[in-house]
């Protein structure tokens, strides 16, 4: 074995360092009692002032959920989740319309500050009147912030509405645009799709709704910020994005949670619908609390994300940087129905400490000439396990469809695991599918080369890891790319091996 003492020292350094976003906000909360039953669903629906059809939709999902069992096939291990021991609704109590930043609940404000949200957006998020007209030098990014169960604020609504773009919390959309919601909600991820999507459909509390009308290029990046704050809550948000013919939108999602000893559940559903010639770019930087160095606490992130390319030449691109969560269970997928539609999946998953990640994608080729690209980079360190699980399915009508998949795993230390489980199914002789996967560690030569030129071992690893992930990081929008690089560095800090 090569220099065990050095490796051990390195491993020690690799222990997850302090989670920067681990603070808790002391704020007055409005909470539903623990447990899940029809009454709770009625309560959620009533709090959200939802119409009758929505309640019926939720109850249908709830009854489906009761007949289902949690999926067992993923390579993750966790104690059974007691779904009755959770609060399904928690919202910060909000005072009406503060006039300036001084009147805003200072705790809420401090939270945004700590999260690094720019001042102007902070003011808007806290609901300060007239904040949108304040000027600063930041490039405009419209933000929808979801705090536990509710969306606290959405910024730049007016600018967006001038362009015809609808960007609002989904609870508002249910009230204001029932026709759109009725038509598309559950059309990509049906209520009974899987255990967690059924649960989400029954109890989802908020999330974002985006509609880009025909021929519109969304004038700014849209962004949602998710934060789980309250104890013993589960966050169930639902995002629905519809891009009509020839429209373009780029959407970012970020997440954090306080540091706690118990595990918390996050089960979201994201549905994307791209019509003819539309383009949706969906980027995620997922940084939920991963648990401490002994694997205690952390978020269970069980997410169903799916996109439907309904029209010809529609294009959906998923980009994700996954560094947080105790357990990640997530497969952003594309259903390529439209002729010539394109699905892309770019992913960097970093696991450290005792984290477990089972993530990947599904590309279902239905239409002719559809193509998909999958690029998955996995980095495991500490005692973590990460799995790439991906499906490529070519149906008989998908003439001349094309797929390229590349999965690379990097192992840091000998206590971790990296696994690749691709499923390739083809019912068509005119298609072309390629899949490649490699697993290796950081080569000693590369490390030596960097160190010899004066970089510390840590810097060298950061450099090499960033290089390893470059193909994916370059797909991220500018603002996120910088953040993601730093995040990678922090997640792997001291993990040099």
């Amino acid at each position: 074995m090569t220099k065990p003492t050095q490796d051990e020292a390195l491993l020690k350094q690799l222990e997850p360092n302090a989670y920067k976003w681990g603070f808790e906000t002391q704020i007055e909360m409005d909470m539903a009692p623990k447990g899940l039953n029809e009454d709770i669903i009625r309560l959620i629906s009533a709090r959200k002032e939802e119409p009758e059809w929505m309640l019926a939709w939720r109850l249908k999902a709830y009854h489906l959920w009761l007949t289902m069992t949690p999926p067992q096939w993923a390579k993750v291990g966790h104690p059974e989740i007691d779904f009755q021991d959770l609060h399904y609704y928690a919202a910060p109590k909000k005072k009406k319309g503060p006039k300036s930043l001084d009147e805003v609940d200072p705790e809420l404000l401090r939270t945004y500050e700590k999260l690094g949200i720019p001042l102007k957006e902070r003011a808007i998020l806290a609901g300060v009147e007239g904040a949108e007209e304040m000027s600063d030098n930041h490039p405009p990014v419209a933000i929808d912030a979801v705090f536990d169960s509710v969306s606290v604020a959405t910024t730049f609504k007016e600018t967006l509405s001038k362009a015809g773009v609808i960007f609002c919390p989904i609870s508002e959309a249910i009230r204001d645009y029932p026709e759109l919601v009725k038509k598309y909600l559950g059309s990509v991820v049906p209520q009974g799709d899987n255990f967690y999507s059924a649960l989400n459909s029954a109890v989802f509390t908020d999330g974002s709704f985006v509609y880009i009308p025909k021929g519109v290029r969304c004038p700014m990046e849209l962004s949602t910020y998710f934060r789980i704050n309250a104890k013993n809550t589960g966050q169930f948000e639902r995002t629905l994005i519809i891009a009509d013919d020839k429209s373009t939108v780029s959407y970012l999602e970020g997440c954090t949670a306080p540091q706690r000893d118990e595990n918390q559940l996050h089960a979201a559903v994201v549905e994307l619908i791209a019509m003819e010639d539309a383009f949706i770019k969906y980027s995620t930087v997922q940084n939920w609390y991963p648990g401490d160095k002994d694997g205690k606490g952390g978020i269970y992130n069980f997410v169903t994300k799916r996109a439907a390319c309904r029209g010809a030449r529609a294009r959906v691109s998923w980009t994700q940087v996954e560094t947080g969560s105790a357990i990640t269970w997530k497969y952003p997928s594309c259903i390529l129905q439209g002729e010539g539609s394109i699905g892309e999946f770019y992913s960097v998953a970093v696991t450290n400490g005792h984290q477990q990640a089972d993530t990947g994608t599904k590309m279902i080729h239905i239409g002719r000439n559809t193509r998909s690209t999958i690029l998955a980079k996995t980095i495991s360190a500490g005692k973590s396990d990460s799995t790439y699980r991906g499906l490529v399915r070519m149906l008989p009508r998908a003439k001349d469809a094309r797929n390229f998949t590349e999965c690379d795993s990097l192992l840091i230390g000998d206590q971790c695991g990296a696994h690749t489980v691709p499923y390739i199914e083809s019912q068509n002789s005119s298609v072309k599918i390629e899949h490649e996967a490699t697993t290796s560690k950081i080569s000693d030569e590369q490390l030596f080369y960097c160190q010899q030129r004066g970089l510390s071992k840590e810097e060298a690893i950061g450099l090499i890891v960033n290089g390893f992930c470059k193909d994916v990081l370059k797909e991220l929008p500018m603002e996120f790319a910088v953040e993601a690089q730093q995040l990678l560095q922090i997640s792997l800090e001291g993990s040099v091996g």
Binding site: P396, D414, S426, A437
Partner: protein, 426 residues
């Protein structure tokens, strides 16, 4: 034949199990029967059986084999083995409908191998709980054939022939058990031919222990009747510096599943698995492999090629497992599929499960039709389409049997693949 009216309604698993119920059974057999009656057969919801459906099982009533007519066996041998001088000279073991046909088996006279025939099923490598077809073998199997190559013995090449003949009274089933042990420095090469006619089900289990520095080559030709069903499980355990090479050609059977489990238990050993599935009509063939690297410094490589025409369905599920201790592992896995018809279907799942960091592991999978540029290249030089197509298919499969060491086996496998046999110049 001898069943009363109530029993004859039995189908599927229960008709199989009723065969052994109430007999004097060993504890292993009892355990297997209990497991099967409790769990039943796996459905497609079970991850390992995702692509292979066992529903046909319940559409049949299973029956015991009746003694085979040796005339039939002789005819088969006269047609397929005796005309080939190389093949006919090999020490051979002929098993027809689960019975050893001693008059044609010359292996018993061979001094290089020791053969033991024991009543009951014995083994040490199979996992009862997990591998359903092994459990079935334990439950129904009657005898174990034990073949030992003693220390330092160079046993050369031997021939196994498994023949199956369908019966009119139901689906006849055979559950052979073969254990092969190679001691230190021993060498053996096996050619196995599977053939037959009519409808039958074979469920053989084979265990191979390759001792330190021993060398084993296993060439298997699956050319069973196109109405037959085949579920074969193979377990291999390798000691240090051992070499294991397998070549498999799967052409026959209406339904076949080959499970291969290779445990690498000794350092510096080497395992290789090359297979070709050539399917037509409505054939379904499945190759499922698990290569477990449990110690450092070992190598493995897998190469599976599928050529699918008509409405055939090919499946490959391959897994490379690398234990945390197995540093310096070098594992390679490759799966290629050539779809020659629009109704053919391929499902593949090449899987890596890795817990050691200083390893080189890779896998690749490709699915596609013949390359149009290559076809054009040949046709532009005056070669008609069909011939050009055959040339490209030949090139695609020929590689799989290129590395067979045993010259007799190499020739046989090439012929079976329809690859032109070119004499080695060297």
């Amino acid at each position: 034949m001898h069943k009363n009216s109530e029993e004859s309604k039995d189908t599927g698993l229960s008709s199989l199990l009723s065969r052994v119920k109430g007999k004097n059974t060993s504890s292993e057999q009892e355990k297997a029967i209990r497991l099967l009656s409790e769990a039943g057969l796996p459905s497609r919801r079970v991850e390992n059986w995702k692509y292979t459906d066992l529903r046909w099982f319940n559409q049949h009533q299973f029956v015991k084999p009746v003694p085979v007519n040796t005339q039939q066996v002789q005819e088969w041998l006269e047609e397929n083995v005796f005309p080939l001088p190389n093949l006919s000279e090999l020490p051979r073991l002929i098993i027809a409908n689960g019975q050893i046909i001693k008059e044609f088996s010359t292996l018993f006279d061979d001094s290089n191998c020791q053969i033991d025939i024991k009543d009951g099923v014995y083994g040490s490598l199979g996992r009862l709980q997990k591998d359903i077809m092994t459990t079935l073998n334990y439950a129904i199997g009657q005898q174990t054939l034990q073949l030992t190559i003693s220390k330092g013995q160079q046993a050369g090449t031997i021939l196994f022939v498994y023949l199956g003949y369908g019966q009119n009274d139901g689906l006849v089933s055979f559950h052979h058990r073969l254990n092969i042990e190679l001691q230190d420095h021993a060498q053996l090469s096996v050619i196995e031919m599977n053939a037959g006619c009519g409808e039958y089900f074979t469920n053989p289990v084979c265990e191979i222990k390759v001792g330190p520095r021993a060398n084993f080559e296993y060439n298997k030709l699956l050319n069973s009747s196109l109405e037959s069903y085949n579920c074969a499980n193979l377990y291999v355990s390798l000691a240090d510096h051992a070499t294991y090479r397998q070549f498999l050609i799967s052409k026959g059977s209406k339904f076949s599943r080959q499970e291969v489990y290779i445990d690498i238990n000794g350092e510096w050993s080497n395992a290789s698995f090359q297979a070709v599935q050539k399917l037509a009509d409505r054939q379904h063939a499945d190759i499922t492999t698990v290569f477990s690297h449990l110690v450092p410094h070992c190598q493995s490589d897998q190469n599976v090629k599928n050529i699918l025409t008509d409405q055939s369905h090919g499946v490959f599920q391959g897994k490379v497992f690398v234990h945390q201790k197995a540093q310096k592992t070098n594992a390679q896995q490759q799966n290629q599929a050539l779809l020659l018809s629009d109704q053919a279907e391929i499902n593949t799942k090449p899987e890596l499960e890795i817990y050691a960091d200083d390893v080189k592991c890779s896998h690749g999978a490709t699915v596609g039709a013949l390359d149009e540029d290559q076809l054009f290249f040949l046709m532009a030089r005056g070669i008609p389409f069909h011939q050009a197509r055959d040339i490209l298919i030949n090139a695609f499969v020929a590689q799989a049997v290129e590395d067979v060491n045993d010259p007799i086996a190499k020739q046989l496998l090439k012929e079976q693949l329809g690859v032109e046999v070119v004499e080695d110049i060297t």
